[in-house]
Subunit: 208 residues, 2 copies
DNA sequence: CCTCTTATTAACAATGATGTCAATAATATA
DNA sequence: TATATTATTGACATCATTGTTAATAAGAGG
């Protein structure tokens, strides 16, 4: 770094600044990781190519070389985070754990600020075209999960299973998005707040 | 408008452009209404003072005069929308309607894109300091509502009432934020989707 | 060792958003 | 009517963000 910042008149002594040359996947990965951190810590305004590039230790021109445009970078991040979220959800729903545990885990997952911001970001993206279909990973296994839950229900009611899963998911999402705020206005103590996920699990289990 | 756009050399004929002078509240109201529309239709990027001013039929300098800064305008909008949402929620919860109806109404409220974007926006606002406490309208009546629901419960279980209300609210929020997307990946038909709010109402009523 | 590809970089250009300021005019108030 | 207040406006200044380009150098493959 300092090598190139010599006083004027000594340019002939300047050593060319060494370059790190990464392969494309590595560069893209570095950038998207930094971008994800920025989204968590600084919100959407943090997702500009200059700051993301700085955090990744590269120049913003290089970033543009890899993603084409600032929008391109953002869409890539959106796709990556969406995929990760779906994977996490699937893993939880697909586990052998008891229903109550599953619900608590779902709530825990959605409580992470990263997931909250991801969902909020997606909700804010005005035209749904911005998120092209093929960027949303398909969730083949979800049908298996629905059936597995259905098996625990008397009469193997698939629709009931689907509704229950959806209720759990949307409650978890709502909790992640504005749990603390709502809790506050509802006058809940923090211990009541902590118990809420478990309580939901307990109640929903009753509906099975 | 056209009056001032005469050819050069005729400036002496120019009539001074008439000015509309509004009182401050009216001006602020005009601006925030336009801003709200832009948030719905264009997302966060639509909330810049130039576009909002254009939509309100005023100059952006005037907007700055009333709100101090672009951030000031956004915070004012956030406060206004939050207040409206809380009011709407309170009205629904406070109505005499049967529980199932109440739940359906809550879901309908949250399905409006305006509410979705509001919540998403709030979730994205990085530092919670940005939303100062006094901008969130207090919800005194909520305690009354909780008690009224509790009266319908055997044993007047206030905590149960609170939890139920919160479950309904967070499910409605989750539905508003990513209902369609999740529904799609879960393989629900559109008629199943339409029935979901009513189904939730039915189920939650069982828990009373 | 030579050549080709391309990741990387600095410097610059272009655009957009935010904010400042002095002048003006509408309205209230004396 | 005369004066004070302030909402309004255009023109300008500033800053941040995005994008472009030509030159450079790291590494792959011959």
């Amino acid at each position: 770094m300092g090598i190139v910042e010599l006083q004027n008149g000594y340019e002939h002594l300047m050593t060319t600044k060494p370059r790190i040359r990464r392969n494309p996947e590595e560069a893209r990965s570095l950038i998207l990781t930094a971008a994800g951190k920025r989204l968590e810590e600084h919100g959407l305004r943090g997702l500009n190519i200059k700051d993301v590039a700085d955090d990744s230790g590269i120049k913003h021109g290089t970033l543009l070389h890899h993603f084409g445009s600032a929008e391109g970078m953002r869409r890539a991040l959106l796709a990556k985070l969406s995929e990760e979220l779906i994977t996490d959800m699937s893993n939880i729903l697909n586990s052998d754990a008891a229903p109550e545990i599953v619900f608590v885990e779902l709530f825990r997952l959605m409580s992470q600020t990263g997931q909250t911001k991801l969902l909020a970001w997606r909700a804010l993206e005005e035209d749904s075209d911005t998120v092209s279909k093929d960027e949303i990973p398909s969730m083949h296994l979800i049908e298996d999960i629905v059936e597995r839950v259905a098996e625990r229900i008397k009469g193997k009611d698939v629709n009931l299973a689907r509704n229950l899963i959806f209720l759990a998911l949307s409650a978890a999402v709502g909790w992640g998005i504005c749990g603390p705020t709502l809790m506050g206005t509802l006058g809940m103590t923090s211990s009541q707040q902590d118990q809420f996920p478990a309580w939901v699990g307990e109640q929903l289990t009753k509906l099975i």
